[in-house]
Structures are given as structure tokens and as C-alpha cells.
């Protein structure tokens, strides 16, 4: 319950002209506006730019994947993990297919630490679908999915070092969507839901 006249809020929210409120309410409006103005003023003292500090950092080569993975493993994160039982059967099928695929004689020659990630998405109206993620630094365009039989189901098999990766699909070069067939989705710092794929080594 508001303890000040709601018209004060309306004025400060730009929903009511200041002249439209009674004179006795105007000092409160003025006090709050003055407080905001004080807080918005540049602080006293020398202005220190962060540009040189930030640019020095980003000009350095990005840490290696192994280092980033290690940091990811040891850094505490607040994540929202949503398990979707309805999709678990489909996910199990994907995992089974992945297992069969990696166990077969056909397919690319893999190093000991590598495995194959299969990406499958249904986008009936799409002209192109790409997958982006922590394995390609989220750069669109590098890994394309194909829909060879034009049934709207797009697929790609990618050889990756064994590990856990976050990823999304980029549809028609502009629409970023998570893979809802993934069993795990994580929320990142930017408010997105990323899908998770775990790539296991083909040979142990």
C-alpha cells in the first residue's frame, strides 16, 4: 500500500503533468526529482576511463578451451536447471542414436578424446539453420545443419573434443532458439536459455 499520494508516482512516471497535481504535492515531486539529479551528476574527482584497461584485456588471446572449461568447472554459478520429462524419451533416443553412431565402423576417424555430437531440429519453414555454441565461440555461420529430404528436420553431425557444451540454433541467420530436445537447458547471464550437449569420447 502506497504511503504517498499516487499522483506523485504518476508525475514521476510521466503519466501525469506536474501542473495537474495540487500545489501541496509538488514539493515531494521536486524533492525526489532533485535527489535523482544529485545521483545522476558526475562524481567529484578525476574522470578515469576504463578504455585502456579493457582494451588491453581483450587484445590478449582468449584463454584456451581447456582453461575456460576448468574455470567453468570450478566457478560457482547460479543456474536454473529445468528437466523436461516429456522430452526425456526423445533425448534418450538421440543419445542411443549417438551411441550407435559412434560405435559403428562407418563415420569419420576420431581421436581418443573426440566424439560426435548430433544436432537435430525441426524448422519446417527455415531457409538455413546453423548451430552455435561454446565449441565455436558462438559465431554463426560456421556449422550448418542440412535438410536433405526437405522434411523440415535439419541435422548435423560434428566431431568435437569430449566435453560439455552450451549451444543454440540460429534459424535463417537471425532467430536464436534453444534446442528443446536437449534434456538440459541452462539460463546464462544474458537471460537466454542455452541447451547442453555432452560429447563423450568415441574410444576409451
Amino acid at each position: 500500500m502506497s504511503v504517498i499520494d499516487p499522483r506523485i508516482h504518476q508525475v514521476l512516471d510521466g503519466e501525469l503533468a506536474a501542473e495537474a497535481v495540487p500545489a501541496e504535492l509538488r514539493p515531494a515531486v521536486a524533492q525526489l526529482a532533485a535527489a535523482a539529479e544529485l545521483l545522476a551528476a558526475p562524481p567529484p574527482g578525476p574522470v578515469v576511463s576504463l578504455e585502456s584497461r579493457v582494451m588491453a584485456e581483450i587484445r590478449r588471446p582468449a584463454p584456451s578451451r581447456a582453461r575456460r572449461m576448468m574455470r567453468w568447472l570450478v566457478t560457482p554459478y547460479a543456474i536454473i536447471l529445468r528437466v523436461r520429462p516429456a522430452w526425456s524419451v526423445a533425448f534418450a533416443a538421440v543419445v542411443a542414436a549417438l551411441t550407435l553412431f559412434t560405435a559403428g565402423d562407418q563415420g569419420p576417424e576420431l581421436a581418443e578424446h573426440e566424439g560426435i555430437a548430433q544436432f537435430v531440429g525441426r524448422f519446417p519453414d527455415a531457409q538455413s539453420v546453423h548451430v552455435v555454441g561454446t565449441f565455436n565461440d558462438w559465431r554463426p555461420g560456421s556449422i550448418a545443419l542440412e535438410d536433405q529430404d526437405h522434411d523440415g528436420v535439419w541435422r548435423a553431425s560434428v566431431v568435437l573434443p569430449a566435453g560439455t557444451y552450451e549451444y543454440m540454433f540460429v534459424v535463417d541467420g537471425e532467430r536464436w532458439v534453444p534446442d528443446h530436445l536437449a534434456e538440459r537447458l541452462v539460463a546464462d547471464d544474458f537471460g537466454r536459455e542455452n541447451s547442453i550437449v555432452i560429447v563423450r569420447p568415441a574410444r576409451r
Binding site: 504511503v3 535523482a36 576504463l50
Partner: protein, 182 residues
């Protein structure tokens, strides 16, 4: 910093993603003042705010490809800084604002009006520090950074009615302090 003549955000983002690392300087010069002010008000410390904003810029650069709407880069940056400030406050375990930077001390040569202004600022800063982080964030985004409620929703991930309620509560708390000291 002079950023007149700098290309629009979407163009800068495209340049950086195409490999022009130096173009990211436009982003820093354009937004650092506002982001530093916001982080300072959230954390109550200019040093902590500088660390938070610098880390946020580096993070933004590293994840720039995931900025879905480059034309709304400003909102995206505020979101990153907001999250960084929240992490900092959680790590500090007590979500209060220490005001550990030296308060504005009035120089003897200052006019009476300037000294009064410095006192008022200290009062407002202390009142702001008393607010919960959520209310402080809402008030600063709305009234110090001048974001619309729609932009605030994009920054915080909260619903607009929730944000309005937080801003209203923050105003009421601030007004009470100001009136008590009037």
C-alpha cells in the same frame, strides 16, 4: 570522451564481429560513464564499480556474437553490469552498500550552496544504501539512468508491474528520509 561521429551500435557490433577489435573502443567510450554511474550507485564504491564495469565490458566483448539485437546494445550492457553487481553483492554476503569511497568533502573555498549540495548528496546516497538491492536497482535504472520500464524489464528480466512497485517503494523510502532531514 568524444564519440561524436561514431557509427551506430549495430555497425560497431558488426565491425567487432568481423574482427576489428579496436572498434570495441566505441562501445566503451559511449557507455562507460552511464554504466560506471549505475554500478557506483549499486555498489556504493567507485573502485568496486570500476572492476564490475571493466569485467562486464570484457565479458560483453567475448560474448558479443550472442547479442541478438545489436541495435539495443545499451540495454544488453546494462543487463551484464546488473548481473555482475548482483554477483558482487552476493559474494559480499551482506547486500548493503558500504559507501566506502570518501564522501564529497566540501572545500573551504566552496560556496555555501555547494556545501549544501554535498550534504544533500551524502544524505541521498545513504538513503539509497538503505534500500534493498532490488529497489535500489529499480530506482537507479529509472531515475538516474533514465530507462523506460520496458527497457528496465529487458535489463532485469522482471515484469513491469514488479518494477513499478519497486520504484514506488524506493521513492517512498527516499522521500521519508528527505522529509525527516528537511
Amino acid at each position: 570522451m568524444d564519440v561524436r561521429g561514431a557509427p551506430p551500435d549495430a555497425e560497431v557490433v558488426a565491425l567487432v564481429l568481423a574482427g576489428d577489435t579496436e572498434a570495441f573502443g566505441f562501445v566503451i567510450r559511449r557507455y562507460e560513464a552511464g554504466l560506471l554511474r549505475f554500478a557506483t550507485r549499486m555498489l556504493g564504491s567507485r573502485d568496486a564499480a570500476a572492476d564490475a564495469v571493466a569485467e562486464s565490458f570484457v565479458r560483453a566483448y567475448r560474448h558479443l556474437a550472442s547479442c541478438r539485437e545489436p541495435a539495443r546494445l545499451r540495454t544488453w550492457l546494462y543487463r551484464i553490469v546488473t548481473n555482475r553487481c548482483k554477483s558482487y553483492l552476493v559474494r559480499r554476503s551482506v547486500a548493503d552498500v558500504p559507501l566506502d569511497d570518501a564522501p564529497p568533502v566540501a572545500d573551504p573555498a566552496d560556496t555555501e550552496a555547494a556545501m549544501e549540495r554535498a550534504d544533500q548528496l551524502l544524505l541521498v546516497e545513504r538513503a539509497l544504501a538503505e534500500l534493498s538491492p532490488d529497489k535500489r536497482e529499480a530506482f537507479v535504472l529509472k531515475h538516474v539512468e533514465g530507462l523506460s520500464y520496458e527497457e528496465m524489464a529487458a535489463v532485469t528480466g522482471e515484469r513491469i508491474p514488479t518494477l513499478k512497485m519497486r520504484v514506488h517503494r524506493a521513492r517512498e523510502a527516499l522521500l521519508k528520509v528527505l522529509e525527516d532531514h528537511a
